[in-house]
């Protein structure tokens, strides 16, 4: 169950992370003035020449050379979170509260979706968009709801773009999102180890280590991942200010995003936004390691199935019927 959990000493042995210290110290030792003039600094992730010497420059500089989240100590995590908060204030005038809450002990998240109950109202989708600061310009959505013909169980046969009064007689509705596979193929595809499965089962992306190659998206059999072609545009008054480093913080441009089971909420005992918003109770969420939880009740007493079970990806997302 937990066999492919990352071990930090494993990571350190990877060539990617070897010499990280020396690479950093090497680059740091370059004079700032010389670096500021180099072509690399015009790419956007690194501050422009005008900002050199300012506080913003210093913060962005430190941000650029930080480690992969999994290699950071708690102090380093706290430091980057504070930098990101400060940067959000400086560049977007946003007062955000970012956290890096670790996984809870004895918790493995699981999700169940009742295909008898879902009536296609899509309130989960809007709640997700708002909670996770998804790009309003391109209408990015992590959740899809498909209108299905009776007897069909593969969403690709359904209509994912309906817009009419629902529910329609003799149709049913089926939602998809990232299924947080126990044996997630997406994480194996990543060349920079920017995406992995956390000990509580949530598959996350370190947006600052993602290079936007989209290998993971190609490896996901469930269309669970969304690539952003630009920094998400969210009207300032609609930005969700409670953020998590691995969750709904506003992603930089050109990164891979996906459902994180609302990590910023669930690690504080709260339901994901979609579950809370669902008006029909079709969405069940809870701790798989708690024998008394709702999710365990569903697994024990309902007819459940998972999508493309034959692939062996072991999604922690079950469909069930009443």
């Amino acid at each position: 169950m937990c066999s492919d959990r990352p071990k930090s000493n494993d990571l350190a042995r990877l060539p990617l992370f070897e010499q990280a210290g020396s690479r950093r110290s090497f680059i740091k030792s370059l004079s700032i003035a010389a670096a500021a003039g180099s072509a690399a600094l015009t790419t956007g992730c690194i501050p422009s020449v005008e900002a050199a010497g300012s506080e913003e420059f210093k913060l962005r500089w430190q941000e650029f050379f930080k480690k992969n989240y999994r290699l950071m100590t708690q102090e380093e995590k706290d430091a980057t979170v504070r930098r990101l908060e400060r940067l959000a204030k400086m560049s977007d005038d946003l007062d955000i509260q970012m956290t890096s809450h670790p996984p809870l002990a004895g918790v493995l998240y699981g999700y169940a979706f009742n295909i008898t109950r879902c009536e296609g109202f899509m309130e989960c989708v809007t709640a997700c968009v708002e909670e996770n600061n998804l790009d309003r310009k391109t209408n990015t959505q992590y959740i899809r709801i498909f209108e299905m013909e009776p007897g069909q169980l593969d969403p690709s046969t359904g209509d994912g773009q309906y817009y009419h009064e629902v529910p329609v007689e003799n149709k049913f509705y089926m939602g998809t999102q990232c299924f947080h596979c126990e044996k997630a193929p997406c994480t194996k595809a990543c060349p920079t180890k920017a995406t992995w499965k956390e000990p509580d089962g949530i598959v996350v992306v370190d947006y600052d280590w993602c290079i936007g190659c989209r290998y993971c998206q190609a490896a996901c059999p469930y269309y669970g991942r969304r690539f952003n072609w630009g920094k998400p545009e969210v009207p300032q008054e609609e930005v969700t200010r409670r953020q998590h480093y691995l969750g709904n913080r506003i992603r930089p441009k050109g990164k891979m995003e996906k459902c994180t089971f609302c990590i910023q909420r669930t690690r504080r005992g709260r339901l994901p936004a979609c579950v809370e918003a669902c008006p029909t109770g079709a969405r069940v969420f809870g701790n798989l390691l708690d024998p008394d939880s709702e999710i365990r009740y569903v697994l024990k007493h309902k007819k459940v199935f998972r999508m493309k079970e034959e692939l062996g990806t072991q999604p922690k997302f079950w469909y069930f019927i009443d």
């Binding site: 959505q141 005992g269 109770g281």
Partner: protein, 218 residues
């Protein structure tokens, strides 16, 4: 399956020589097969592994950012994890207490339609034999509901009444496959009451337009 492909690949290999070769080869093959079999079982058993966990989890150990703000009452039944709470109803019923009108004293009816409940559309029960008011409401003690056995039922505990016909839903509601929790997956369990979501006079959800629409992925 894996044995055939591995064998096919290796017998064609010209690099194995000497009399020990077949024995070593068979040994390697054996190890591969055992490893493959072990790998398969671990894959299939994820759900079994999960289901095998029966150590109690202390839901109160989880640090919470949000607490349920609504009024709740302790349910009169237990779920698999013990006692739990449901969202209270009485304060949300506009004209509760009912006995403020339904009593001995005379009432002047100005807003006739509303005050006589003529605005309520009853769409509950079979189409040929729909329910009437006193199928659920107590005929005398107007501040209560009444079940088929003649027991008085508090509006805050309407699940006791609904469950007598909708017993399957009630069972799933207790267990957690019907209805929903409020705000938190952890902490003390608080769930929606039947009548928090369903209008008891017309329990089906009304048709409406979805909250948004989707554009094709890329």
């Amino acid at each position: 399956m894996s044995m055939i492909t591995v064998a096919g690949r290796h017998t064609g290999s010209p690099s194995i020589h000497g009399s020990m070769a077949p024995i070593i080869f068979m040994l390697v093959l054996l190890i591969i097969c055992i490893a493959a079999a072990a790998g398969n079982t671990s894959e299939e058993s994820f759900l079994d592994e999960v289901k095998a966990v029966d150590r109690k989890f202390d839901n109160r150990s989880v640090p919470l950012d949000h607490y349920v703000a609504e009024d709740t009452v302790l349910a009169k039944e237990n779920y698999q994890g013990g006692p739990f709470r449901v969202l209270a109803r009485k304060k949300r019923i506009e004209r509760y207490k009912c006995s403020s009108c339904h009593g001995d004293k005379p009432i002047t009816v100005n807003e006739g339609k509303e005050l006589t409940h003529a605005d309520i559309e009853l769409e509950h029960g079979r189409s040929d034999a729909g329910l009437t008011c006193i199928d659920c409401h107590h005929p005398e003690k107007r501040d209560y509901l009444e079940d088929k056995k003649g027991r008085k039922i508090d509006f805050d505990h309407s699940y006791q009444l609904c469950g007598q016909c909708h017993f399957r839903q009630k069972r799933d509601w207790l267990g957690g496959a019907h209805g929903k929790r409020v705000t938190n997956w952890a902490g003390d369990r608080v769930v929606f009451n039947c009548t928090t979501c369903h209008n008891p006079h017309s329990p089906r959800f009304e048709k409406r337009f979805p909250a948004t629409y989707s554009v094709p992925i890329e």
